[in-house]
Symmetry: C3
Subunit: 323 residues, 3 copies
């Protein structure tokens, strides 16, 4: 499927999502996002294993994880299967020996012969859009290098809305490697359509992209950049922690320098805003200590569960299936 | 799910199995084992492809094989699918790049968001119990290093009962690396609840665990330890052969020394007890010569088939599904 | 299942295919091939996602790809799933650590305990026949090293018939590494049952097998061997391009020498036979330039789609399922 970058899709109902690629958070305006979040509520009981559905029976998802990711892959595949659909999967090292130099456009076209919809994780920015250029079925970006992870953006927003009861009016803090963490990019982008304030906490080397900061200024959105997590905890309704992603460091010494910089402990929340919602795309290593897990605001495992709900929603929307 | 080690579960019916982890042969007493074996008989026709069932429709198995094992994995996944269930799978090398330092408890909790039941193979003793600590769905141990392999124990017992018509009164010989072979550990443990005699045949370096031998003495169970296979063949109703597991030797020369020590040939059976039941968890390399395959007592391929039957049974029991 | 090499199966109806292995193009005579092609027409609408069927419900395909191949694997697995069947899969590196020295006969017997039908890709010639010797369910060869790829042969023939409306009377050119390309071997073998002329275009080091050339002479089939692609384009109704398979060269310099030898460009077709049908088993690297893709005769992506149709047909035939 083709995709005009920056295009805004004003959805009235589900028909307009049918056949659409989901490649970037930039595709969607507030109306689109609210439509997805509202639709997702209808899918929650299926993700929570409370009800069964067969609305995707006869549909096949092509699950292409050039870079392995059990979490995201299981989330998509479970979403497909719990709605009666099926999946063909290829993971990791398998590709290096297979692609044999084929272009991603050709791969997209070939996989479209087999699948009704494709989800793809790939180490290179823009790879998903390239595959989508050749594909004749909808393509969902499940992370393209340090680029985007739009379905994670949707599930994070869904989590914020569920945990806080609203999105407008919130102060949202992001903590960690904001330069390379694609989940942060997609969520922050989507949040610009809402009335929120940002706090960005990172080492100077890992700041949010300057183009995004410029956009916030241009749109008059309140934000603060800091290296101190304390500044965020004092004000944030939502604290979005991230892992310092070891796989992006070529120098292990460099990684060691950063990995313990931001560690969220129970007392930090209790001494600031005890009801703050704490999120994390997982896996966590030691950015959040275990004693935080039992706080009422510790939402990261519920966030994972919401991933199934939101991916059910997006798969159904692009396939034109209505619950 | 949590699991109290050594706990005995006295099952009256299927409800008590629902939600239970299956981590160790030590969990089960004679009543439990007999209940599983009796229930398994009802599942046999489905495993033998004679009948179809959908009792697990809508259920998803999370199949986590940190250490690859096509046999055991296919056995579980086939069991799930032939009862109408579905599977999400992750295998081997995929994990090293994925786990990124996450604890097994976190992994268990996350996978519980996707799956209704988890089966796990892992190279470390105790790993499955760790995953189960975080999981909120039942976890089945499909082999944790040199630890246990309880579902193999059940299928081996089921095979003995089917082949011999009984378990009580039998002499069961184990041959090979008894120190590190987890299938042996789980089956031998379960057999202590029956009126059997043991013969343990191994090199001195690969003897049964001394704690288990102590337990046999304490319970007054007859056994003999020997290095000569001949001693076993003269008396055993069941001969359980094992592979000398190459993967557990760091020194290849050490492996070469042991690998040809015990080789079962057709004449050895014919000259001793011609109706002896011969078992092997497979794969066999050269511990059993091909001419043995056509003996009536050569049960190892039927044993594999019984694996599907018994895993159908256990998956259904922990999921609370009744045939 | 056992398979007598060179055996001809004269099929009247579908019953005779039931339980048969599909290991080599040499198994089939003209009547067999025409029966498969005719049956395939009935399956096309299911492969094209226009209709759904459940004729393989309750059946499990064991998909064993010792050598990874996403395309062929997805083609088989999609075929199975779109007819209501299910799949258990093992790929690539997984095997090296699993087989642990087991014979392929044993593997075939064990996998038969789980699956109703097996498809296998393996790097060694004859491996599939070896597995089939032990198996008790039908085995389909999805490529055994430089040996054969008979299901590819069927789908290529199906493509020729669909694109040209006939097979008899055509001139078919094969271009590339004809020595080692198994898809060429299987298709060329099947074409000998029809009234066709061959043109073989290859470097001298990569000529068709001399035994096959001898057979053509013996049967009085017209053919020409040449190193110049131009000779073929002037006369061929069907141009079957192949990749120079890098993985078969131990010396990279040797590969570099050959890889750009045959490159098909749009003008070459337009200046010769503009309606020529262009085929390629994919992936293509640079043997066919992108501008060819929009020619009406560019059939390689339709060829991929036909793969699902033909594999649906063959799976159903060997399983005795009738649409």
């Amino acid at each position: 499927m083709s995709f005009g970058s920056g295009r805004h899709l004003l959805y009235i109902g589900f028909m307009e999502f049918k056949g659409t690629d989901i490649l970037s958070a930039k595709q969607f305006n507030r109306g689109d996002i609210e439509f997805v979040l509202k639709t997702a509520q209808k899918f929650e009981k299926f993700a929570l294993k409370e009800k069964r559905s067969d609305i995707l029976a006869g549909k096949v998802l092509g699950s292409l994880f050039y870079e392995p990711s059990t979490r995201t892959r299981f989330s998509f595949e479970t979403a497909m299967k719990r709605l009666g659909g099926d999946v063909v999967t290829a993971v990791g090292a398998e590709f290096s020996s297979i692609s044999k130099g084929e272009t991603l456009e050709d791969t997209g076209r070939v996989i479209s012969s087999y699948a009704d919809v494709i989800v793809m994780r790939h180490p290179h920015v823009g790879s998903t859009a390239q595959l989508a250029d050749g594909a004749t079925v909808p393509v969902l970006n499940a992370g393209d290098g340090t680029g985007e992870h739009p379905t994670q953006g949707f599930l994070d927003l869904f989590t914020i809305q569920k945990e806080c009861g609203k999105i407008d009016g919130l102060t949202v803090a992001f903590v960690g490697d904001l330069k390379r963490y694609r989940a942060v990019h997609s969520l922050a982008e989507m949040l610009t359509h809402f009335n929120v304030s940002f706090v960005f906490v990172s080492p100077p080397e890992m700041k949010m992209d300057s183009a995004f900061i410029f956009k916030l200024k241009e749109k008059g959105i309140a934000f603060r950049e800091t290296t101190r997590m304390e500044d965020a905890l004092a004000v944030a309704d939502v604290v979005y922690m991230t892992r310092i992603p070891k796989e992006y460091f070529s120098d292990p010494a460099e990684y060691e320098k950063f990995k313990g910089v931001y560690v969220l402990q129970r007392s930090m929340i209790e001494n600031n805003k005890p009801n703050a919602v704490i999120m994390h795309p997982l896996p966590r290593i030691d950015e959040i200590t275990r004693d935080v897990d039992t706080l009422p605001g510790a939402a990261y495992f519920r966030q994972t569960q919401n991933g199934v709900t939101v991916r059910m929603t997006l798969l159904s929307l692009v396939l034109g299936a209505r619950i």
